[in-house]
Symmetry: C2
Subunit: 249 residues, 2 copies
């Protein structure tokens, strides 16, 4: 936890907040804080700043920490990349949501595809915002406060044929990961001109040809990571890392 995150409703009118959960435990046990210490803190979807520890009552899991928050910076900038992801199995999705949030994405579209196991859509993880703690974990890691927006799309064609056309004008480039092409991100023109990117990465097993064709119909450019075929979780992190360095901010 590189940044302590508050929910906005936790901050009272006098800028005070009282915590009694994994965060208070972390402040005492891992950070080893005492009354008077000041730590980096932020409000989810709000500003970054610091929090002064005013009081610690009790110990262990039941310890209660009272803090006073001061906002320093304005809201961090919105990441310039959005991610379309063929839904992966829950255990991989948990880790991936934290990782992509730490790398910085604004929207995450979890979609169906031919090689998505249908049971993944019944997973508790994608119901009722149950995935939210993993996004928060990613923010705490990266010292960001902007929670990515996650949406679930159970049908591939309506997503690509109806939803994509409605949003695609907001992007400077649309990319689809496809190991079978030779073009890598460095060979792509215009990345140094900045702008927003929509990146689509297939589920485990990849996109099928029909899906690649549908993305190309919508002006997505197929890009690969070279001859080595990577697993979805590795490919997502690798492509986001490459965009991070190639797209001008």
């Amino acid at each position: 936890m590189n940044l302590l995150l508050f929910e906005s409703k936790e901050i009272k009118n006098d800028n005070m907040a009282c915590l009694q959960d994994r965060r208070s435990e972390h402040i005492i046990k891992v950070l080893g804080c005492r009354t008077g210490d000041i730590i980096r803190a932020g409000i989810i979807n709000g500003p970054v700043g610091t929090a002064e520890i005013l009081a610690i009552r009790g110990s262990g899991k039941k310890a209660e920490v009272t803090l006073c928050f001061s906002a320093h910076d304005i809201l961090p900038k919105q990441p310039a990349t959005d991610l379309v992801l063929g839904l992966v199995r829950p255990i991989m999705l948990k880790r991936l949501l934290a990782q992509v949030t730490s790398l910085g994405v604004s929207r995450i579209f979890l979609i169906n595809a031919n090689r998505v196991e249908k049971s993944f859509f019944d997973a508790g993880l994608i119901k009722d915002d149950n995935y939210r703690p993993y996004l928060v974990q990613g923010l705490e890691q990266a010292k960001d406060t902007r929670l990515p927006q996650v949406s679930i799309h159970r049908r591939f064609r309506p997503f690509v044929e109806d939803f994509i056309p409605a949003i695609k004008e907001t992007y400077s480039r649309l990319l689809v990961a496809h190991p079978e092409v030779n073009k890598n991100l460095k060979q792509l023109k215009g990345l140094d001109q900045g702008g927003r990117t929509l990146l689509a990465v297939g589920p485990e097993g990849g996109w099928v040809d029909f899906e690649i064709d549908k993305f190309i119909e919508q002006s997505f450019i197929p890009v690969s990571l070279g001859k080595r075929i990577l697993r979805t979780d590795t490919a997502v992190v690798a492509l986001l890392a490459q965009l991070m360095i190639l797209v001008r901010e």
Copy 2:
């Protein structure tokens, strides 16, 4: 499994091999192969080629598959990057070994550091080559046959002060990941000249200042991934992916 891998001792003089393990199960259940089918195959630390399925006996976990291997290509090229990694907890290490192998590294030095929990060196995973299946997983994924060499270094100073000087001449650049510097890989000169890279990434919690100083004494250049602090597993994949695109092959 994008490439079926044999141990060299499994291939008999007539190029035949007989499998009765997770690989035979995968060939039947996941690939749905039948007698006469030809699949991509390779020999660990040997050539890539194909294997023809000559016979399938039995079914389920006990199925036995007989194959005939034909070598096509010569040994794949050795990846140009080696990794020094502050030892992470076993569950993360398993995943990371498969991921870095799929991205392509030749040597992996698992080292001690101030923020490495000492108990990690007692983990069964790093004893008696128990980590080998995770490397093989990475090769199967990336269609490579070159198994990375893994070595364990229980003392930080002898590694950096004695071991590094003995190998450093073989590298065109030595890099150490350090979130507190502003320099990213794109700002580094000479990457387009190719050559080999040694990349050092800290354990969970990162390197301490003393360790960074020791690396710098050995001519390591500190590089970061930007303002966002990433977890070790994300940072390793991200930096390898960036090197992949920036260093001329």
